[in-house]
């Protein structure tokens, strides 16, 4: 299938039962008798959930060997993250496992909001075509982790250590020393950098004496995974005050394997122990589905939600990512999705610092960019949860006023907030961006700091490749140039070729609107694609000569109306945190990428 073509080849003929999968603990090199302490590992990632796995895989793709430790030996259990957003799928595409996920997952893009028994509001999260990936897929977290893990285990430079718990952390001059507890006792694991991706109850955060701060919502939600055949369409349905659960909210999502996720708001006074019992849960589900419905309860739990974050995500050589750094209520699907975006932001920066291509201070921008994104996610999730769980009587009065007016008035429908679904934060204030020049104006959304838009493209005649723009971007810096190579003068061409071979290698991608002849103007290391529907030019507001500089994490960091190699070089320096410091005199030997 075309959608699987860019996935790394994994034997998927027999898919394991990821919910019951166990992974083997084996003693590591450091535990063998007579082992002499060598150099610290470049990176130790703590936590093999979606964020730790994505970080490890991305680092490995950059040629960085990774030790990934997890205190358990299984994948996630229960009902955890299920809605994976387009940006996350684009990231997983670059890593090499989105095809499997989209194949298995339930795609959706429509949401409906009901008040009592009538539809109040419907929204479409991806109203336009011309994108490879859907707005959302629903997929159980154990599948996402399982597919990531299959990919990680196939990579040669990820050393995965199960049943390995970090019980002590010592920051030293040029590395971090972790004491790791295993079934065979403790050993010391040293990393030049440590990525703490160990979840909302992060052990590393506690070991460092740090805390997350924020707000806990005085409410309880029953989360049920229900296996059933049901006729609901694959849409996100949210009810305020439905007849089957009066005065409270209900959220319904479809997952693969005929499993449905239902969230029932219970209120603060509900008994969290009692409400988990089948005697309480089954009648609630039956009220929603009808008396004849056949279903099984797969998972039941009661949650209280919080929106919290650490003040700083970087503490010396320890970088916090995912739920370890920030947590949100689930309305909006901004938890796992933002964590995976943390991973893609961090991995290339760590790789560049470790390769000597960028100063250590580049890692400060991981923290500042992702703290900014976390604030945006917390703001949205908080607003949604305030609407679903009003904090005061007057807040409830306004909430109900919005819902009442929404039936008849479009303006009030805009205010109905059952969740503002995850989109990538635009890193407006990042110091790695180069602002648009005076007189160079652009329409549209591809501003510096934005995640790149996809568009349908085709490659040169006879050369295969994905018929999409995004797979051409990422992993390295890319100059995305609208126009044919022949349109550049010799001096520009020569200057761009120098940048391609520079200390921070630059890949060139040309986007043309004319048919490309295979023999036209070959340029080593450059890709030429045709903008088959004109959507790339439209989305990037491009004219002939428009040039974008794209980061390894597929974010725009600069753009111009003409191709000027000096400006590109300056923007590249800025984008690796080296603005004004000049380029290293000698390019360090480039590290080979792990992936062919």
């Amino acid at each position: 299938m075309a959608t699987d073509a860019i996935d790394t080849a994994i034997d998927t003929a027999i898919e394991p039962d990821y919910q019951r999968q166990q992974y083997a603990y084996t003693p590591c090199a450091e535990q063998r008798p007579g082992h002499a302490a060598g150099a610290p590992h470049p990176v130790v990632v703590v936590g093999a959930g979606p964020v730790g796995l994505a970080t490890a895989i991305d680092l490995a793709r950059h040629g960085v060997p990774v030790v990934l430790i997890d205190d358990d030996c299984t994948l996630s259990t229960g009902s955890r993250a299920i809605c994976f957003a387009k940006r996350t799928l684009d990231i997983f595409d670059r890593l090499g496992c989105a095809g499997r996920m989209v194949e298995k997952g339930v795609r959706w893009h429509l949401g409906k909001v009901f008040l009592r028994d009538s539809l109040v509001y419907a929204f479409d999260l991806l109203p336009e075509s011309g994108h490879q990936r859907p707005a959302f897929i629903n997929l159980q977290q154990y599948y996402v982790e399982g597919y990531l893990l299959d990919l990680a285990r196939a990579l040669p430079n990820i050393d995965i250590r199960w049943k390995s718990r970090a019980v002590n952390l010592e920051s030293r001059d040029d590395h971090v020393a972790l004491t790791v507890e295993t079934p065979d006792g403790c050993y010391t694991l040293c990393g030049r950098y440590v990525v703490a991706a160990d979840g909302s109850r992060s052990g590393l955060r506690k070991l460092m004496g740090l805390e997350s701060h924020g707000h806990t919502f005085r409410d309880r939600f029953l989360i049920a995974d229900v296996k059933m055949e049901a006729a609901f369409p694959p849409e996100r349905w949210f009810w305020f005050d439905p007849p089957f659960h009066p005065n409270q909210s209900v959220l319904l999502h479809r997952q693969p394997d005929n499993v449905w996720r239902i969230d029932f708001q219970l209120g603060w006074d509900a008994d969290p122990v009692l409400e988990k019992t089948p005697e309480r849960v089954i009648p609630r589900v039956r009220a929603l589905l009808g008396p004849e419905a056949k279903f099984e309860l797969e998972w039941v739990s009661v949650y209280t939600f919080s929106c919290v974050r650490m003040d700083r995500f970087r503490h010396g050589r320890v970088l916090f990512a995912g739920d370890a750094a920030h947590g949100v209520s689930p309305f909006g699907a901004r938890g796992a999705n933002s964590g995976v975006q943390d991973a893609e932001n961090l991995a290339w920066k760590l790789a560049y610092v470790l390769a000597g291509r960028a100063p250590d201070s580049l890692l400060d921008t991981y923290a500042s960019e992702r703290e900014f994104a976390a604030d945006e996610n917390i703001r949205h999730s908080t607003r949604s949860t305030d609407f679903i769980t009003p904090k005061s009587a007057v807040s409830r009065t306004f909430r109900d006023a919005v819902l009442t007016l929404a039936r008849d008035h479009g303006f009030a429908r805009q205010l109905v907030n059952s969740g503002r679904l995850s989109v990538p934060a635009v890193l407006h204030e990042s110091p790695l961006n180069t602002a648009d020049g005076d007189g160079e104006t652009f329409a549209g959304t591809m501003v510096p700091g934005a995640a790149c838009a996809d568009a349908p493209v085709c490659g040169m005649a006879g050369v295969t490749g994905e018929p999409w723009l995004l797979p051409r971007l990422g992993d390295q810096f890319v100059a995305l140039i609208f126009g044919a190579p022949a349109g550049l003068d010799a001096a520009t061409r020569s200057a761009l070729q120098a940048l391609q071979q520079g200390a921070v290698p630059l890949r060139l991608v040309f986007v043309t609107d004319a048919a490309i002849a295979a023999s036209a103007d070959p340029w080593p290391g450059a890709t030429v694609v045709r903008d088959v529907e004109g959507l790339a030019a439209r989305r990037y507001d491009a004219r002939a000569g428009t040039c974008y500089l794209i980061r390894p994490d597929q974010h725009v960091c600069a753009r111009w109306r003409t191709v000027d190699a000096a400006r590109i070089g300056a923007a590249l320096d800025r984008a690796i945190g080296q603005a004004g410091q000049g380029r290293p005199a000698v390019a360090p030997a480039p590290k080979p990428m792990a992936m062919a």
């Binding site: 007057v394 009065t397 006023a401 009442t404 007016l405 008035h409 009030a412």
Partner: protein, 63 residues
């Protein structure tokens, strides 16, 4: 656009009576609900965020 607190009601006494009359036969809870709807309707009509913030700030000020 700055909030206009200069006289701008075309029929001040008529408006005042209509406002009180809106609440005729409503109990307290129903009145609160009606006030909330009125605020939202009028806020949307005004639209401009800075103007609305000014009004909110003035309203919150204790005398």
């Amino acid at each position: 656009m700055p909030l206009n607190t200069a006289p701008n009601l075309t029929r001040p006494d008529d408006f005042y009576e209509a406002l009180i009359d809106m609440h005729r036969d409503l109990d307290d809870a129903a009145s609160q609900a009606a006030n909330a709807r009125l605020i939202l309707l009028l806020a949307n009509h005004i639209g401009d965020h800075q103007t609305l913030l000014e009004a909110l700030a003035l309203a919150r000020e204790a005398p």
